[in-house]
């Protein structure tokens, strides 16, 4: 289940606010600086900077919104909830805080609350596609809970995992730009500070000039639908866009990198083919199983899961490979679709070279 959390296009009002606030940047940091800190994973620093902005302009919507994202990433969900609630009270016409509030509720499996928040977002902006998409997901979640109760299914465990993935996804999408920002969204700027530079880099990149951009997120079409309403904000976005940072830097395509990349692609392909044997073959003998369960247990669990009826589609995008000697770290976006689950997460695989072959030694969700 994917929540496309920060598909946050800010409307004209917000954008204008941002521009206004960005110009007289005197003593206090700018939002762009906050974003930069976020992108480097320096969340406490980002929080400090955004608090400095808010000390001067306590009502500033973009700054408050950004703080909400930082708090969410810092796992301070309750603080983030409180912030978004207050923000919604002050700016009831903004759908984004409701949407992000819903994402947090959903991550806490409070789907009724998530539903209510998304319905608010839609009430203010009936064409707000992200909220519609998320609401669809929440309905599906609620349905799944109802089915669990009806059929005494024990999907609770897998659900918890899915949920976690969502949170990380959310973090990934903000701290690392490449993929999550939907191509059609230059407006992101003001909204999701971290995403802004990305969006900027991305917007023109609709044509796959970086590997990252190759695969549009599944949500894209919906997002596009919401566009007209956000159009006025575009100029503002462009102004804010030229944030220096270049993401998706071209990689020195050395051999090891290519091999590692190939391995991940093959691994995903085996998974998609439901070729369990081949799939398991990509894991090193000393692979760190989740929760440290015995290898056998993990293998049979994987086997069961993959062998379930229905097609599986695993796609990897935005591969970011870092090689050091016989070890490689590959970070990428994984889109997983099966009969009963759709998720898009950031994944990291740690590869080791054994007998001239790259194998997976660690696999974890998140960057």
């Amino acid at each position: 289940m994917t929540f496309r959390p920060f598909r946050l296009s800010l409307n004209a009002l917000l954008a204008a606010l941002l521009v206004a606030s960005a110009l007289p940047a005197a003593a206090e940091p700018t939002l762009a600086e906050v974003q930069a800190s976020m992108k480097q994973g320096q969340l406490p620093a980002a929080l400090e900077k955004v608090d400095q902005i808010l000390a001067v302009k306590p009502k500033d919507a973009p700054a408050r919104f950004t703080k909400g994202i930082i708090l969410t990433e810092m796992n301070r969900q309750n603080d983030a909830i409180a912030l978004y609630q207050k923000l919604s009270e002050d700016y009831p016409e903004l759908p984004e805080p409701y949407n992000n509030l819903a994402v947090i509720y959903a991550s806490q499996r409070q789907y009724e609350k998530a539903k209510a928040a998304l319905e608010m977002a839609i009430r203010t902006h009936p064409a707000y596609a992200t909220a519609h998409e998320n609401l669809g997901d929440v309905y599906a979640k609620l349905a799944s809970q109802a089915y669990d109760k009806a059929l005494q299914l024990d999907s609770a465990n897998t659900q918890a995992q899915t949920k976690l993935a969502v949170i990380r996804d959310l973090m990934g999408s903000n701290s690392r730009v490449p993929r999550t920002a939907p191509p059609s969204k230059p407006v992101l700027v003001a909204a999701a500070p971290a995403a802004a530079p990305a969006a900027a880099a991305k917007a023109p990149a609709k044509t796959p000039e970086t590997p990252a951009a190759a695969k549009p997120a599944p949500a894209t079409p919906v997002v596009a639908k919401a566009e007209p309403e956000k159009l006025p904000a575009k100029p503002a976005a462009e102004k804010a866009a030229p944030v220096p940072e270049k993401k998706a830097e071209p990689k020195p395509d050395d051999k090891a990198q290519a091999e590692a990349r190939k391995l991940v692609e093959n691994w995903a392909a085996a998974w998609s083919r439901k070729d369990v044997k081949a799939y398991l073959n990509y894991y090193a003998r000393d692979f760190e199983t989740p929760g440290g369960v015995p290898r056998k247990t993990w293998e049979s669990d994987r086997q069961l899961r993959i062998a379930k009826p229905g097609p599986i589609r695993v796609e990897v995008d935005d591969l970011n490979v870092r090689v050091s000697g016989d070890e490689a770290k590959v970070r990428f976006r994984q889109s997983y679709t099966s009969a009963n689950l759709k998720s898009a997460t950031t994944k990291t695989l740690v590869l080791v070279k054994r007998d001239g072959r790259w194998l997976i030694q660690q696999e974890r969700v998140g960057g």
Partner: protein, 399 residues
């Protein structure tokens, strides 16, 4: 809008199954009960059929507020919610659902709705309750095909409808004959006892009441097995599928509790049928009088001292616990020689018709026998059958 149509079509399918068989049972006088979750459930399906999905969801939510463990309602709720995010393919769209579990819930839906749409009317009584004795406050009639239990009160001998409840019966259906055949017996029984609560696991829910299967008639026919109870359900569910027990009759815990407060141990009849026959009050009265007349004739002929006339009331295949028809005749003729007068009084007569294929009525009474050389009071049970178009006694013994 496609998904709406599909789920609507699905509801229509279920409703069709229900209404198709029940239209004839509807009477212009109107049904006599509207309790339980079926009324709401029926409205939910009508909403779905009419594509009022929001209204259907509201109703399901309201239903779940009252019955939080109602799995069927959860399933429908799941479908209604999912319909908002993707097209549905049928009833019970849980992606990982074991098909048999969905099928069980669909069966439950059909059973509940069918019973609801074919409720008896005020003018109908179950054919089996020909006469309750005055101290029998209630009688229970079970319809396995409809997955339904009907509770009747004794209103001066006439059964008055009180309530009806969804029930679960044997995995393999009805007509128990062997130990372990996972079937529910068909016949005239009564509640024997209550199993002490501390002896019950959660599986039996709010209580358990054994009935007297196998009864004398079952034994006569060589039917075996034991441990047929009325009992509740585990805490985590409101109900079980229509066919899920090992032969017991299983009710929702709240329903069993409502029932338990009205049960008289050793007295309350439990008549289990695979398809309850309903009679108009007129027909019922006629059947009842006919048999009453025969019983009265038997009593009078006994008093008359004319042993051959008395023996005419016994069927060819008659048997008691200790005698065949021939032995019984010989014994009665011998006894009659010592009698100068005989007086027989029958009190507390009950007459319950057996729901099986054979025409058979279980008659129970207190017999007050006086004669020149013997005075005796005891409880008696007779099985009357139709032989050559006349009511005859098939079995007679202590009750």
């Amino acid at each position: 809008m496609k998904q709406l149509f599909r789920i609507g079509a699905c509801a229509a399918l279920i409703l069709g199954a229900v209404l198709g068989t029940s239209a004839s049972a509807q009477s212009p006088k109107g049904p006599i009960s509207d309790g339980g979750p079926e009324a709401s459930l029926s409205k939910v399906f009508k909403d779905i059929e009419a594509r009022r999905l929001d209204s259907a969801l509201e109703r399901v939510d309201a239903l779940l507020a009252v019955y939080p463990n109602f799995r069927l309602a959860h399933l429908i709720r799941g479908d209604l919610l999912l319909a908002r995010s993707r097209p549905l393919t049928g009833f019970g769209n849980a992606p990982t659902a074991p098909p048999e579990k969905v099928a069980e819930l669909r069966d439950e839906a059909i059973a509940r709705l069918q019973a609801y749409h074919a409720r008896p009317t005020k003018n109908q009584v179950p054919r089996y309750l020909l006469q309750m004795r005055p101290d029998q406050k209630y009688a229970i009639v079970v319809d396995t095909k409809k997955s339904r239990l009907y509770l009747y009160a004794n209103e001066r001998g006439r059964p008055r409808f009180v309530a009806d409840y969804y029930i679960t019966h044997g995995k393999e259906g009805a007509k128990k004959s062997r130990e372990g055949d996972k079937r529910t017996p068909l016949g005239v029984y009564h509640v024997v006892s209550e199993v002490p609560k501390k002896k019950l696991t959660d599986f039996y829910g709010s209580g358990a009441f054994p009935i007297n299967y196998p009864n004398e008639y079952d034994r006569l026919l060589g039917r075996a097995g034991h441990g047929i109870w009325l009992h509740g359900v585990p805490r985590d569910t409101m109900s079980r599928p229509p066919k899920a027990s090992d032969g017991c009759v299983v009710l929702a815990n709240a329903d069993l509790q409502a029932l338990a407060s009205r049960l008289q141990l050793g007295l309350t009849p439990v008549i289990i049928s695979d398809e309850v026959e309903w009679l108009s009050l007129d027909d019922w009265q006629q059947e009842r009088s006919a048999l009453q007349g025969q019983i009265e004739a038997w009593r009078r002929d006994w008093e008359s001292g004319d042993t051959e006339r008395y023996l005419q009331h016994y069927a060819e295949k008659f048997t008691s616990d200790s005698a065949t028809r021939t032995q019984w005749g010989a014994r009665k003729r011998a006894i009659a020689k010592g009698k100068t007068w005989v007086q027989v009084r029958l009190d507390n007569i009950s007459m319950f018709r057996d729901p099986g294929q054979e025409e058979m009525v279980v008659v129970t009474f207190d017999q007050d026998y006086r004669s020149n050389n013997l005075k005796q009071r005891d409880g008696k049970r007779q099985y009357w059958i139709k032989e050559g178009g006349k009511w005859k006694i098939l079995y007679e013994g202590q009750a």
